[in-house]
Every structure is written in C-alpha cells, then in structure tokens.
C-alpha cells in the first residue's frame, strides 16, 4: 500500500455532521417518548427530521467537494476504552459515506412522505414514524462511523429497527415471527462481523478504518481470508444474501413503506457498504474475492429464479431485491473498478426499487391491501400515475437503455467478463442469465398487475388512485429511476476514487459492444417471453407445475432446509436440555440433599428411647476411651 489513508479533522460546516444522525435520532426519541401527545403532528416531525438531514447532507456534500482531503472525521467522545483498546464515538464523512447519506436521507425522505399518506388510517402511525426515524438514524450511524465498532453500532441498530418495523403489526403472528426471524438471521451475521472486529484488534491493535487500511498489508493471507469471510458472512446477513437470505422475503410482513425503506435506502445496502468500506481487505486476497463473486452470482440467480414463481406482488419485489443485491455483491467482489459500479447500481437501485415498492403499496392501497398479482389486472386505467411511475421503474430495473438500470447493471456484466480466467465465462453468463430472468419476472409482474383482463375479487368495485401525498414521491422516484443511472455512471466512480482506488480495467473475454448487445438481447427476450405468456392474464388458482417451479415457489427449499437443520434440532436440543437440567443436574443436587436426609433418618433410629440402651452405649464409649488410653500408655500401636 503506497498511499496511506489519513482522515482530516472536520471543520466548518462538516463539524456539524453529528446532526445528520442526531436529527432523526432525536425525532425518534421524541415520537416514542411523548406517546399519544404526539399523535397529531408526529408524522410531520418524522418527515421534517429526515428532510432536514437530507438538506444537511447536501450541504455537507458540497462542503466536502471543496476540501483538499476528501475524508474528514469528527471524534465526538471516547466510546469504549480499556487497556490498549480504544474507540471513539467518531464519524467519518468521505465520498463513500456522502453518497450513502444522500441516498438514505433523500430516498428515505420520499418514503417518509409517502408513508404519511399510506399509514393515515393506522392508529400506530406515530409509533411507525418513530421506528422509521430510528431506522434512518441507525443507518446513518452505519455509514458514517469512522471505525468498525461504530459501524457495528449502526449495523445492529438497523437490525433492531427492521425488527420493530417488520413486526409492526405485532398482533399478527406471522408478522411477529417474521420480525424475529429477521433479527435472528441478522444476528448470525452480526456474530461473524463482531468476531471480525475482534480479529482485527487482536492482529492490528486498532479497529479504525484508517488504521486498518494502513496496516492491512502486514496481515498474513490466511488471516486476511478469515477476516474477509467473517465480514462477508456479516454482510450476507444484513443484505439477505446466500446463505442468510431467508429473512428478507418474510420481511414483507411489515407495512409497504417499510419494505421500500429496507430494500431501497437502508438495511440491505449495509452489506454492500461494508464490503466497499473494507475494500482494502477484500482486494488483498483473490480467494476472498472469488468467494464474494460466487456469493453474488449464486444469490442473483436464486433471487431471480424464485422471483419468477411468486404470486405475491411484494414477495416478487423482495426476491428481486435479493437478486439485485447479488449484482452488487458481484460488483464488489470483482474488485477494482467494479466497486464503484456496484455503488452506482446500489444508488440507481435505491430509486427504482423504492419506486416499485411504493407503487406496489399504492396498488394495494387501492385494492384493499390485496397482494396477489393473479387477482389484479387492467389496473392501468384506474391508477394512471401509479401505472406510469411503476412502468418507468420496471423499465429501469430490467435494464433497458437509456434508463438507469442499464447504465448501472450492464457495466457490472461487462466487468464480470473481465476476470482473468475461465471464471469470466462462468460469472459473465450468470450475470447475463440473471438479467434475462429479471426482465422475465418483472415483466410478468407488470403485465399481470396493470394489463390484461380484470381478475379482481368480488369485493372490489372501483380501485382508486392514491392521494397526492403518495403519488408525488412516486413521480420523483420515477424521475430518479429514469435519469439516475445515466447521470451517475460517469461522475460517481470518479468521486469515489479516493476511497475505492483508481480504475484499472482488465481485458474482457468478449468485446464490450458484444456484451452490451447480448445484455440488451437477453433482456428483450425475457421481457418478450413474459409479455407473450401473461398478456392475457393468468389463472387465479395455483397451477400444477414442474419440479423447478415448485421448488421456486417454496423458495428453493431454503426455509425447509433451515427448519430441518437448525430449527427442529434446536427445539429438540432445548427440550432435551430442559429435561437434563431438571432431572440430571438439579436431580443430582436434590439427590444429594435426599441422601443426606435419608441417611439422617436412618441414624435417627439409634435413638430408641430406652434409657438402659443409652447407658450401655455410654459404658461402651467409656471402655473404648479407657482402652485407647491404655493402648497409648503401653505403646501397643507403636
């Protein structure tokens, strides 16, 4: 590592960056502590705090552009300190943090505004906004921390907020279970993450980003690999990647804006952030990169395949997120220039996925909270704004030029083809296949929802368009979906260069133009196929299907696997241990007590109550004593 990483102390406007976190955090505290007193205005405070954080984020962004050293840190106070270990409650604002802050607060703000309308009739709206603000605050801590412990603080905070929001309607058993599942699977990743932090400290004596970045070259390759794998496991937990993917689709139990927030602006991007932030570790070991790429490729295919078989509008989108995050993992795993591409895709994805989820929410809002796309159809006439914005986001996600998905996804596919050996073909084709599948399931979703014959349930007469407070965010997100990719693909990688390193591109095994044409072709094929199959709607009842579709409907048996391998044996083990503790360990304790008691009971029998037998024993005792004296006196034992 030639260049050393140095963070300048924050000055001027940037020294107020703690407000970025404090604004939503304080708002969350106010909303949750004031209780019903804040019911009337609570949601506006929630929006306002995130909006203000966005404005501050923008100002900070411009202030950072004017800086010589584009990485400024602010150590607020000594957080944890013992012996040689010391971490500060420190924030870091650098190009990478900056784009995340803008995404989180910007898209987050739109989702907040939308939720004002969406949650209007829910009695828990204030609580909802409290959790929402908490979510944003935790995510901001995650991306703004200047050391791994701070990141971890935000990391678990996000986990908490997602738990609260997923099980927001906690009266529903399924929602409560889904929240718990999300938290638990995240905790598995978190445990790996925290062990990675321990390993960093044990090896390097520091957990600050700058300290680690400057010393990472001193680590042996085995340690680096271990470290990377642990961080990766942590990242897969938060981002819903294989093998910790199962919680993400269940997270749909929360209100729809939650899904938008989790999938677009916060939470799932955390894993990508972590790997991008730790790029110095991942770049240092090629085996590690291969693992990351494999995880990404595998997950993008898993997500896409399952997405094709789902009939629940939100679950299709959820699996689509799994798949798209897989692209991002593919990007960060490829390393080099692809780091920045992954971030670009992440930003673009933030726009169109938020648009898709909020659009889905708008559809549900008009359709009495139904989610089954087999029961939609022909909605374009009734909700024009939702239709147009959803359509634009759809075109964006399948990667049709010149919408943003094309600019963000296609370079990743190209980058996959730029790997050194035969793996270029493997991952390149996987990425292409994923693009085709994405086009297929998204087109299917779009066609079944908005076009074709009406297949509504009887209780729906006239679906209505959502109020402006919900449609305005939709429009803004649609604009972003259209334009973001094209606008960002140039400047963002340059902007991120100080953090992620300079662009070094390899030679692709195919010509660049050939890959582009291929990518567009598979997209068109996928979309066309779906159009042909679903333009006339679909059956409203589940159809018999082949092995693959059945498997996809059952989430490729991931849940069944978890249940059979972890849940069932876990429950059995717990029961066995409860039995063992009661009968074994406590049984031993009580057994000792009982044997002492029983022995005493026997001894008690010696007290016969007959005076003369007492006299006999006294005499015997006296004789024994005399005998002992005599024995000692005459040395019989000597």
């Amino acid at each position: 590592m030639e260049h050393t990483v140095q963070f300048a102390p924050a000055t001027g406007l940037l020294s107020g960056m703690w407000l970025l976190v404090a604004l939503p955090a304080v708002s969350a505290a106010v909303l949750l502590l004031l209780g019903r007193r804040a019911d009337r205005w609570g949601h506006w405070l929630g929006c306002l705090s995130v909006g203000a954080a966005f404005v501050l984020g923008l100002l900070s962004f411009f202030a950072l552009r004017g800086q010589e050293n584009r990485a400024v840190q602010l150590n607020l106070w000594e957080f944890i300190s013992a012996g040689s270990f010391r971490v500060d409650f420190g924030l870091l604002f650098d190009p990478l943090s900056a784009v995340f802050v803008l995404l989180i607060t910007g898209v987050g703000f739109l989702i907040h505004v939308y939720a004002v309308g969406y949650m209007e009739h829910d009695e828990g709206r204030r609580r909802f906004f409290g959790y929402f603000n908490l979510f944003v605050a935790a995510m901001l801590v995650l991306v703004l921390g200047n050391n791994y412990v701070m990141t971890f603080l935000g990391w678990e905070g996000v986990g908490l907020a997602s738990y609260l929001l997923i099980s927001f309607w906690y009266v529903r058993p399924s929602a409560a279970t889904a929240g718990k599942k999300a938290f638990l699977m995240n905790r598995v990743g978190d445990a790996a993450f925290v062990i990675a932090i321990f390993l960093l400290f044990a090896q390097l004596g520091t957990v600050n980003f700058d300290g680690v970045a400057n010393q990472v070259h001193t680590l042996s390759s085995g340690v680096t690999l271990m470290l990377g794998l642990l961080l990766l496991l942590g990242a897969t937990g938060k981002s819903g990647q294989f093998p910790l993917t199962a919680w993400l689709p269940d997270a749909m139990e929360g209100p729809t804006p939650v899904s938008a927030l989790i999938h677009a602006a916060t939470m799932v991007t955390g894993g990508v952030y972590l790997i991008a932030r730790s790029n110095f570790i991942f770049t240092a070991n090629s085996t590690l990169q291969l693992v990351v790429v494999s995880v990404g490729a595998l997950t993008l295919l898993i997500g896409a395949i399952i997405g094709c078989a789902k009939d629940d509008i939100k679950r299709v989108l959820a699996w689509s997120t799994v798949s798209q995050i897989g692209y991002m993992f593919l990007g960060v795993g490829l390393g080099g220039a692809a780091y920045a591409l992954a971030i670009v895709h992440l930003l673009a994805h933030g726009f169109f996925k938020a648009g898709l989820f909020l659009g889905a929410g708008s559809v549900m809002h008009g359709m009495r909270d139904q989610v089954d796309i087999r029961r939609f159809g022909g909605l374009w006439k009734y909700m024009k704004i939702t239709w147009v914005t959803f359509g634009l986001a759809w075109l964006a996600i399948i990667g049709l030029p010149p919408l943003s998905g094309f600019f963000s996804k296609e370079p990743i596919i190209v980058a996959a083809f730029e790997r050194k050996d035969w793996t270029a073909w493997l991952f390149g084709i996987a990425a292409l296949l994923g693009a085709g599948l994405t086009a297929f399931y998204m087109t299917r979703l779009f066609m079944l929802t908005f076009h074709g014959p009406k297949r509504w349930t009887d209780d729906i007469e006239h679906p209505h368009e959502s109020p402006p407070i919900m449609t305005i965010p939709l429009v803004l997100l649609a604009v972003g979906s259209v334009a973001a990719g094209g606008l960002m693909v140039g400047p963002v990688p340059k902007w991120l260069t100080p953090v992620l390193g300079h662009e070094v591109r390899g030679e692709a095994v195919l010509a660049h133009s050939a890959i582009t044409i291929l990518a567009i072709a598979v997209t068109l094929i996928g979309a066309g196929l779906a159009y042909l199959l679903f333009r006339d709607g679909t059956a409203t009842a589940p159809q018999p299907a082949g092995a693959l579709v059945t498997a996809a409907r059952k989430n490729l048996y991931i849940d069944a696997f978890n249940e059979a391998v972890f849940e069932k044996p876990g429950i059995f083990l717990t029961r066995a241990l409860v039995f063992l503790d009661g009968k074994g360990i406590d049984g031993a304790v009580n057994g000792i007590a009982a044997s002492v008691g029983g022995g005493s009971g026997r001894l008690r029998r010696l007290q016969t109550g007959f005076v003369r037998s007492y006299a006999m024993s006294m005499l015997t005792g006296a004789l024994l004593v005399v005998a002992a004296f005599l024995a000692v006196q005459y040395g019989w034992f000597a």
Binding site: R604, R605, Q607, T608, G609, F610, V611, R612, A615, M616, L619
Partner: protein, 101 residues
C-alpha cells in the same frame, strides 16, 4: 496385708461396676437411680483416695462438689420419677420411651 490405698481403689472399681451393671440390667427407676448414686460414690471414693495418694486436698474438695451436685440431681430425678409414676402407674424405665427418634 497392709491397707494400702490401692485397696480403696479396687473397692471403688467394684462399687462402680456394681452400679453400672445395675443400671444396665434393672428396670425399676428407683433401683436404677440408686445404682447411679452408687457409681457417683465410687467416683467420690476414688477421688478421695487419689487425694490421699498425692497428699493434696484437691480430690477431697471435688468430692464435696460431686456430693452437692448428686444431691441436687436426686431432687430433680426423684421429682421426674414421681411424676412419671403418677401418670403411668409404673416405675419401669422401659415403659417410658417417649423421647425416642
């Protein structure tokens, strides 16, 4: 055959043995009681003898103490025997084993 102090000791041992055997084989509480007294007096005799052998008065003084304690004990003991006899119409120690277990 001179009357050496050892003879007194032998007498004390014999008295003690008679008392001990009496306690063990007799049932009547009064007889038992008298046997206990016999043992106490055997001990007193031994004490006085040792006092004589050693040429000090310690043993004799202790013998007086023993007598006083024995007298007190007789008072308490007879009272107990009386009250047991009144309630049970029997002075046999084997009949009253209420304090077992």
């Amino acid at each position: 055959m001179t009357l050496t102090p050892e003879w007194y000791l032998l007498l004390a041992a014999a008295l003690f043995t008679i008392g001990a055997v009496g306690v063990l084989i007799r049932r009547n509480a009064i007889v038992l009681f008298m046997c206990v007294e016999l043992m106490l007096n055997a001990a007193n005799l031994a004490l006085v003898t040792f006092s004589r052998i050693n040429g000090t008065l310690d043993g004799q003084i202790i013998a007086f103490f023993v007598m006083v304690v024995a007298a007190a004990e007789v008072v308490v003991g007879l009272a107990i025997i009386m009250s047991i006899f009144r309630t049970r119409r029997s002075a046999s120690v084997d009949d009253s084993n209420l304090l077992k277990y």
